[in-house]
Amino acid sequence: MLKYTVKRLAQSLVTILLIATIVFLLMRCLPTDYYFTEEQLMKFTEEQKYAALEAAGLTDPIGTQLLHFYNDLLHLDFGTSRRIQNGASVVKVIGKKFGVSMRLGLISAGISLLVGIMLGILQTAFKDKVFDWIGTAYTVFVNAVPSLVSYSLVLVFGSKYLGFPTLYSTRNVGPSSVLPIVCLSLASIAGYALWTRRYMVDELTRDYIKLARVKGLSSSEIMFKHVLRNAMVPMVQYIPQSILLTVGGSLLMERFFSVPGMGPLLTDAIQRYDLNVVQTLVILYAALGIVGVFLGDVLMMLVDPRITLTGKEAAR
């Protein structure tokens, strides 16, 4: 197991390095005009622009820049932000936003796990009855309709009839986080409910369930001890990943409610040519994703002892 973990971690490092390189190169495709604010772009002469770029090391050949970048990475130096927050270290910039996104994300992940799986269980229990149809209608609606529309509906309903604030504010954190959390949870509840129902319904027709019923187990015992546990095996893999990625925030939701979180940071940083922020963010997301998949595999192994990681080839 240890050997496997080490091997997998080493592979992940290579992947992360590759991703960082690609993003590094992609960002160099951006015209250097974005390096300057509009005001600077108007005022500066060509020589001044060139001097500024040269001072930032952006006129060096790509190879040299890349070597510098690797060197900094090796020392875990992620550089400083330029226009998002002038001169502050990137770690600090991200650290500030990180907490806001994570708090909203973790609450919503907890709610959606609980509600989504409960909904799935109830749908299975009342299969082909009214409750099942309502649940299916909900999942179809949330999956099909663009998030922008469902967010708008939540916003109108929540602010007009329930009186919650329409925008997030740091002075009024409690009530103003209600609508963002609801919006975040909508889709993931639907996801969990859909897959819980799907796997449980598949599991219900198995022979061992018939045996359990013949033995005289109560239906709630069958549902929770047998069907749910087995249905959770394929789902459990995605849970750590979805919890970890809450840190990244939700781009649309955070823009929609003006939450000062991580979501819009990436696009903002690209548009303002804040290269260090972009690179660090991408490395962070990639690392979180890879760790999430790994934890998911471990969790799957714990839930279902028949599964071993070392026996077969890894997924990634």
């Binding site: 999956n143 998030s147 548009q271």
Partner: protein, 313 residues
Amino acid sequence: MAKASDFEGKKQDELFYFVDYSPEEAERVGYSNYSYWGSVIQNFLKHKAAVVCLFLFLFLVIFSFIALAIGKYDYQTLVTDSSLAFRKPNSEYWFGTDNLGRDYWCQVWYATQVSIRLALIVAVGESILGVIIGLIWGYVRKLDRFFTELYNLIDNVPYIIYMTLIALVVGQSFTIMAVSMIAIGWLVMARRVRNMVFMFRDREYNLASRCLGTPLWRVLTKNILPYLVSVIILRMALSIPATINLESTLSYLGIGLGIETPSLGLILSKVRGFFLDYPYLLVFPASIVSIISISFYIMGNAFSDAADPRNHV
């Protein structure tokens, strides 16, 4: 061949009995009038909700042309007049006016056409590209490693980086949007097709085909592709709501379509600040975009069930 009437009069325990030799019966070949696409359509038509959705969608497309033709204003010649802002729907402005006093009816229907066109183009484009690459990826062993690495590289960089970069470097227009969405969207389809091809490529009948010297493209299109139809159709149908969703998100963030090509997403993002006070600004575009997305979702699921040969007969 024994018919049910032959058994009449015979004892119950007499399960087997001799029949006389008849040359016609001996020459008879098993025949069924099974046709794959016939069964698909038959099964699809049995799904009432999906048929309703199909008609709803067709009606919406046709109506969007009628609506633009009978509307009192033309999208291209709209003028801003803030004294006319926020008129509720009335006989002059059927969907009311927006914050700049422009007719909302023609904006909404024009945007509907743009959104549907974009979604259809992207869905078809990424399916074609995805299926072709997926077939090659799955069938040609030597290329598997290359495509897998390519997939990992493209897939691991957040798509928002590509989209932002494309918007900044190349520009924002309908064509750029469609091409860039296809360029990233084929990944999912290709991967699915590749996994299916992996399952079928070494079945005995394909082995036999290869031994008999069937050319590669024929093995791919005649032996393997039919198994993939249901997966492809489902993915294609679901990519339409997904495209509309992605487009509206990107437009909301300002890196989607340009301002001069309105889409439902762009309209929704434009009225974000006003629809709390003027709900009609939200209701019309939101309900149209919901109808399109939900009908494709339901149709896609129904059609993929119908296209699965295991559900036939």
